[in-house]
């Protein structure tokens, strides 16, 4: 088929146009609107000219905004650290110690919980950890505690626990994929040259699997930092995170410009952290040549 580049370009654009038009109108335009709103003058239910940087100035001057962002960042980074640390040995086991024909079964088992309703999983933790819940009653009837522990009201630790459970399966797959790519003969070479198994792991396997670790960190970090349901349900809703605060600004206080500015600033922060992860990944990839 001798398609000239020009006609190929036209055919490609024509083919992608339905999807492209859909995402431009319903994703790019709304995101651009948020960006524009963030520099407009706002009040309750008001979006007006003139353009102003007042909204961003307020993010600096009022500590609550910075506090919410910092708290969400810390929660998300802790959850990321926990999930990746827990996922690594699991991915390692499936990659190195499971027979090849059984690997997809194991991965299937690990990913099933992720595909079951997120709302149900989080609500279940509420039933288990909440006041007089399954855990409390079990602890009391076993005589370990004499009053209700009510772990779900423990604010940030409870949020971290539930988020770490909810996003755990996300971390296994990228690490597994990178471990699968590790050339097994390198490991034999390392051990033939007298390295212990542990030293071979530290000097060969771990560095080679770093891209997967960083991908896993990114995959967990982004949805957790923007999570809405868990902070709402766990911790008595007293520890709002970025998503909850955006809701308050936009829907309860009806201040679209201020809410937009907060959303833009939060996403910029998420973007900076994500880029830092990607740069780390680059460093490891370059080191591998």
């Amino acid at each position: 088929m001798a398609a000239t580049p020009k006609s190929e370009a036209r055919a490609g654009l024509k083919l992608i146009s339905p999807t492209a038009i859909y995402v431009i109108l319903l994703l790019a335009v709304p995101l651009a609107t948020v960006l524009v709103y963030s520099v407009m003058t706002g009040g309750r239910g008001v979006v007006a000219l003139p353009l102003t940087i007042e909204n961003y100035a307020r993010l600096w001057s009022q500590p609550v905004y910075g506090f919410i962002m910092f708290k969400s960042l810390m929660v998300a980074l802790t959850v990321t650290l926990i999930t990746v640390l827990l996922a690594y040995p699991v991915a390692y086991y499936v990659s190195f110690h499971v027979r090849p024909e059984r690997k997809s079964l194991w991965l299937f088992l690990i990913t099933i919980p992720f595909w079951t309703s997120y709302i149900i999983r989080v609500s279940l933790w509420f039933v288990i950890l909440g006041y007089d819940g399954v855990l409390d009653r079990a602890l009391i009837s076993l005589g370990i505690m004499d009053t209700q522990l009510n772990f779900a009201s423990y604010g940030i630790p409870a949020i971290i626990f539930v988020l770490a459970h909810a996003y755990a399966p996300f971390a296994v797959l990228p690490v597994f994929v990178s471990l699968e790519k590790v050339d097994r003969s390198l490991l034999e070479a390392g051990q033939d040259l007298g390295e212990t198994r542990w030293r071979t792991f530290l000097r060969v396997t771990l560095p080679l699997s770093m891209p997967g670790v960083i991908a896993a960190a990114l995959i967990v970090f982004i949805p957790t930092v923007g999570d809405y349901v868990t902070p709402r349900l766990v911790g008595d809703g007293k520890e709002p995170m970025i998503a909850n605060f955006i809701e308050t600004q936009l829907l309860r206080l009806q201040n679209m410009p201020q809410g937009s500015a907060f959303a833009v600033a939060s996403m910029t922060m998420v973007g900076i952290v994500s880029i830092a992860f990607v740069l780390l990944n680059r460093r490891f990839l370059r080191g591998q040549k």
Partner: protein
């Protein structure tokens, strides 16, 4: 394979941790007590009949089905266009366009929902099931594109060229040769998008103002202790439903790989 008892134990403990809340679902859904706690008191089907008798729940389930079927169809169709275009052609602006299509994968859902909500409110558009469908399609399309891209990539270009040489038009080649070969991918995409949409909460909550939708309904009901057992019954049914759908998707995924003569490399994503 080398034995690794510690790693194996850790992995099994990890699986237990992952499944622990889900395992409790059927246990308490059949337990004869409104209080969700051990020890179990007896067997009952009351919670299932309470669930079936709940009119609001039936309404929410109907709406969720309408939404999920629409979202799965729309996302898969949009996914076919984008995946086929990106695999088969090179054209100007391809990278930024594909980036925009895949963007919701790396954007917290709340941002997508709020951006869309801001525009809908500014245009005075009434929130309805339709606005939920529009929003969820944005979220699901990247998954459809990812699944379908790998389906289109495993196609042998020469089959298509042979059909064209034999006088088929571009459309009939697509219909007779390409479509049947990527059919497993299309089915997987449909099932995955259906599952995501059915479980999705944020967009259903914020863009579906007031309409009963299953995930929103479940979220509300769990706060009333008296309603928890029937929600556990519902959860049991939904988890079973998800697992069956995924099992079917996995079956088609493997068949798709076998059809294209590839080698199985692991699960979804």
């Amino acid at each position: 394979m080398k034995k690794a008892p510690i790693l194996r134990g850790f992995t099994l403990a990890y699986l237990l941790f992952l499944y622990s809340p889900i395992i409790l679902l059927p246990i308490f859904a059949f337990n004869d007590s409104r209080v969700v706690a051990f020890p179990l008191t007896g067997f009952t089907l009351n919670w299932f009949s309470e669930m079936l008798g709940d009119v609001n729940l039936r309404n929410a389930a109907k709406n969720s089905l309408i939404i999920a079927l629409s979202v799965a169809s729309l996302s898969t169709v949009l996914g076919i266009f984008a995946a086929r275009a990106s695999v088969r052609y090179s054209f100007p602006g391809k990278a930024p366009l594909m980036g925009l299509i895949m963007l919701p994968l790396v954007l917290p859902e709340m941002i997508v929902a709020m951006a869309l909500l801001v525009v809908l409110l500014s245009l005075n558009i009434t929130l309805s099931l339709l606005t939920v469908i529009i929003g969820q399609t944005l979220i699901c399309t990247p998954f459809a594109v990812a699944i379908l891209t790998s389906a289109f990539q495993s196609l042998d270009r020469s089959l298509e060229e042979a059909a064209m040489d034999l006088g088929e038009t571009q459309w009939s080649t697509f219909r007779l040769i390409i479509l049947p070969l990527v059919m497993p991918g299309i089915l997987v995409s449909f099932l995955i998008c259906f599952t995501i949409s059915f479980d999705e909460f944020i967009i259903a909550n914020f863009l579906g103002s007031g309409q009963p939708i299953l995930s929103v309904y479940i979220f509300g009901q769990f706060r009333f202790p008296a309603k928890v057992p029937s929600m556990l019954a519902l959860g049991t049914v939904l988890v079973l439903f998800s697992i069956i759908l995924l099992g079917v998707a996995e079956y088609f995924r493997r068949r798709g790989i076998a059809k294209a003569g590839g080698k199985d490399t692991g699960g979804f994503l």
